[in-house]
C-alpha cells in the first residue's frame, strides 16, 4: 500500500499535526501575512509565533520575504508544493482503499447471493 516514504512528506505531516501551524497555513492560503498579523490572529506572543513559523519554513511549507520598500518587515507566503505532495499522497491512499473496497464488494455480494440461494433450497433447515 502507499507509504509516506519521502522525508518531505513526513515533515509536512508532522508540521501540520500542530493546530497553531495549521491555522497559519489557513491564514496564508488567503494571502501572504506579516509576522505580526499572524501572531495577532493566533493570539500568540511573538516568540511562540516565530517558533511555529520556523518549523513551517524548515519543512518548506512557507517562505519568508522582505518587501523591497521595508527591509524590517517580514512577510510569510505559502508554498503550494508541499501541500500538493500531501494531497497527491492522500489521493493515493484513497485510491488504494477504493480499489480494495470494490474488490470486497464483489466478494460480499457473491457470499450474500450464495446464502440467499441456500435459504431458497432448504427453507427450514436453518433459522
Amino acid at each position: 500500500m502507499p507509504k509516506p516514504n519521502s522525508a518531505a512528506l513526513d515533515a509536512t505531516l508532522l508540521a501540520l499535526a500542530d493546530p497553531a501551524r495549521r491555522r497559519v497555513v489557513e491564514l496564508l492560503k488567503v494571502r501572504p501575512h506579516r509576522a505580526g498579523e499572524i501572531a495577532a490572529a493566533l493570539a500568540l506572543g511573538g516568540p511562540a509565533t516565530s517558533k511555529h513559523l520556523k518549523v513551517l519554513r524548515s519543512c518548506a511549507l512557507v517562505q519568508e520575504e522582505r518587501p523591497a520598500d521595508d527591509a524590517r518587515v517580514r512577510v510569510y507566503r505559502l508554498r503550494p508544493e508541499r501541500l500538493s505532495e500531501l494531497k497527491d499522497w492522500l489521493e493515493d491512499v484513497e485510491t488504494f482503499w477504493s480499489d480494495q473496497l470494490a474488490a470486497f464488494k464483489g466478494a460480499a455480494e457473491a457470499a450474500a447471493r450464495k446464502s440467499a440461494a441456500e435459504r431458497a433450497v432448504q427453507p427450514r433447515s436453518r433459522r
Binding site: 513526513d10 519543512c59 492522500l90 482503499w97 480499489d99 480494495q100
Partner: protein, 164 residues
C-alpha cells in the same frame, strides 16, 4: 463523529453480518494481490485476520515468515472493526489506525473505511529536523482530532491554488 485523513465508503448488496464476515474471515480471498496492494515487496503474502480483540492481522509468506500489520482494537461483528495498522517501513512504535464500519442501508450495507493517525509517524526519521526533541514528542502525541475534517477539505479543494 470521526474525522480521519482518509475515508472511503461503498454500498454492498449484502446484510451487515455477511459483509462483516466476508471482510474479516475471507480477507485473503478479496484483498487485491500484487506488490501495490499487499505489504511486502513481492506481494505474495496470504492475509489472515484473527477474530476478536487483540487478534492479529498479518501476512504469511511461502517461507513461513510473517509480517504483522496490526492488532484488532475493537471487534463488533456486523458493526465495526478497528485495527492498528503498520507498514513494513514503520519504526517499532509507529502505527496508524484503520476503522471499518458496517451500516445497514435498507437491505444493503454501507461499508466505510477510515485510515487515520498518519501524523504520528516516524519518531526516528529525518522529519524531525526543525523540531526540538520536546516539541517533536508533543506533536507526535497530539491527535489531529476534529480539525482534520476542515484540514482535509482544504487540502482537497485548495491546496494547489497559488496565493494571490
Amino acid at each position: 463523529m470521526n474525522a480521519g485523513v482518509v475515508t472511503v465508503s461503498i454500498e454492498v448488496a449484502a446484510d451487515p453480518h455477511t459483509a462483516f464476515r466476508v471482510f474479516t474471515a475471507d480477507i485473503d480471498t478479496w484483498w487485491l494481490r500484487g506488490p501495490k496492494h499487499r505489504f511486502r515487496a513481492r506481494g505474495n503474502g496470504r492475509l489472515e485476520l484473527e477474530p476478536g480483540v487483540t487478534g492479529r492481522l498479518f501476512e504469511r509468506y511461502d517461507d513461513g515468515s510473517v509480517f504483522e500489520i496490526g492488532r484488532v482494537l475493537k471487534w463488533e461483528p456486523g458493526e465495526r472493526v478497528v485495527m492498528s495498522w503498520r507498514l513494513p517501513n514503520f519504526a517499532a512504535a509507529e502505527a496508524t489506525e484503520v476503522e471499518v464500519r458496517f451500516e445497514p442501508v435498507g437491505e444493503a450495507t454501507r461499508v466505510s473505511v477510515e485510515h487515520r493517525g498518519w501524523h504520528a509517524l516516524r519518531g526516528d526519521h529525518p522529519a524531525r529536523h526543525g523540531l526540538s526533541g520536546r516539541e517533536f514528542e508533543m506533536s507526535k502525541a497530539r491527535l489531529w482530532g476534529e480539525n482534520l475534517a476542515a484540514f482535509r477539505s482544504w487540502i482537497h479543494h485548495d491546496a494547489a491554488r497559488p496565493n494571490p
